[in-house]
Symmetry: C2
Subunit: 256 residues, 2 copies
């Protein structure tokens, strides 16, 4: 896990600030003491940060516990909508969900992880209650693998070095060589498949959204329960549908 040693010329209090915000998120709210224990900081310091955060509206205080505030909702909402990508991709994802009667989603790569940017569920689609903004390792999902396969080799190595291959189910890919081989196949085929690799009993097909200049915007995946997502449907029927829709999207997107 090589970490950038670019820790020079950076504002330390800002780093701490984010540490606190992130811990507050992980602990789902906390008191001063809990936080200072977790971060190994004196309570006075912790308190000063919380006070600052509170005054700015980024943290709320509810009977002694501090919680992340609604202001993050504001910024988060902005980020989601500001991405032209999202606005554009929406109809495509929706159509896929409707036509397949499964769930469809769009994910983007950010700092080596996959981020759920948009999701559409049809009536019968699985509702894996994936939060928008949720991050997870790229090797665990078809969309993630599709993205990974289309990054420069060097980038792939970096990401794998940095994040490793955390396991979520017994089917998760464990071996780096195995993954690299599969990525090669995905590159040739143009799409990826995942069978219970992220969640047991859930399969998916995913394909990259690549712009004309070769940039990978992200990936679209169709996700469903294993009993429906199998056999010919999974390997013959859905991939062309997905690739067709993505192609359509890319054409529209480029000359706008």
């Amino acid at each position: 896990m090589p970490v950038n040693d670019d820790t020079a010329g950076v504002i330390k209090s800002a780093d701490r600030l984010f540490q606190i915000v992130e811990t507050l998120k992980d602990l789902d709210g906390a008191t001063v003491t809990e936080l200072s224990d977790h971060l190994d900081l004196p309570p006075s310091t912790t308190h000063r940060y919380l006070k600052t955060l509170h005054q700015q509206g980024y943290v709320d205080k509810r009977n002694g516990e501090y919680h992340l505030g609604l202001k993050f909702l504001d910024i988060g909402g902005y980020v989601r909508h500001s991405k032209p990508v999202r606005r554009e991709i929406k109809p495509t994802v929706r159509e896929l969900a409707q036509e397949t009667n499964e769930a469809a989603s769009f994910i983007m790569e950010h700092r080596g992880l996959g981020v759920f940017v948009y999701r559409e569920t049809s009536e019968s689609g699985v509702n894996t209650e994936v939060r928008l903004g949720k991050r997870s390792s790229l090797h665990l999902s078809s969309g993630g693998k599709a993205i990974l396969a289309n990054l420069p080799e060097e980038r792939i190595e970096d990401i794998l070095d940095h994040h490793g291959l955390p396991q979520k189910t017994t089917q998760s890919i464990q071996d780096r060589e195995e993954l690299l081989t599969e990525l090669e196949e995905i590159r040739e085929r143009g799409y990826a498949i995942a069978r219970s690799e992220h969640t047991d009993g859930v399969n998916s097909v995913g394909a990259p959204v690549r712009l004309s200049d070769g940039t990978v915007l992200g990936a679209i995946t169709i996700v469903g329960p294993a009993f429906r997502m199998q056999g010919e449907r999974l390997t013959e029927e859905l991939p062309p549908l997905l690739l067709g829709k993505i192609n359509e999207f890319v054409l529209n997107f480029s000359h706008s």
Copy 2:
């Protein structure tokens, strides 16, 4: 506009950090120079903050321009879902949207402004493209007025002093006394109505969600085009429906 003089014991760099984040949001991305001009900071300082933000993944750099990063999406998503309120209120809002065939939403008060926390649109419902997390003055909407009416008098004064009465349409309430009188009526009646006060041609009914201890969680509103939202429907039919649903919700919510 009295501002807290509690600027003591607070971390200055954190304040600046958020200034930068917020400016980045307002400008929808900016270069170092643009930012330092806007904030009247030396470029070196501005740059240091951006570098920090970037290193943490909260800001992305795309050909010289800095933009808020997807990590805010992550936190924003957390905040939305972490609120037990939201999870609980969802079904109620959805039912209202379906039964009335209009749009319904849930808003909360935060620092004197209304924040859209959740919204559900039915087929024929207006789609006022309100972003979740969007903030606006309380006096402009029925939900906002419903919340305002149920805050302690002192709090109301504070909020009005602080935010004033910005106008959005010719129908927006302009006069403080007029507003206070209306709030009094709302308190008695139990619900509020807004006619083109926020957006021309859009009316709404809103009512507060109050817990048994008197705390106001927020308000639910039913929003629709003026031509459908008028006459008896607006004043006789919808209010009892709304109040009934909210009452149902509060009962469920309290013993859980």
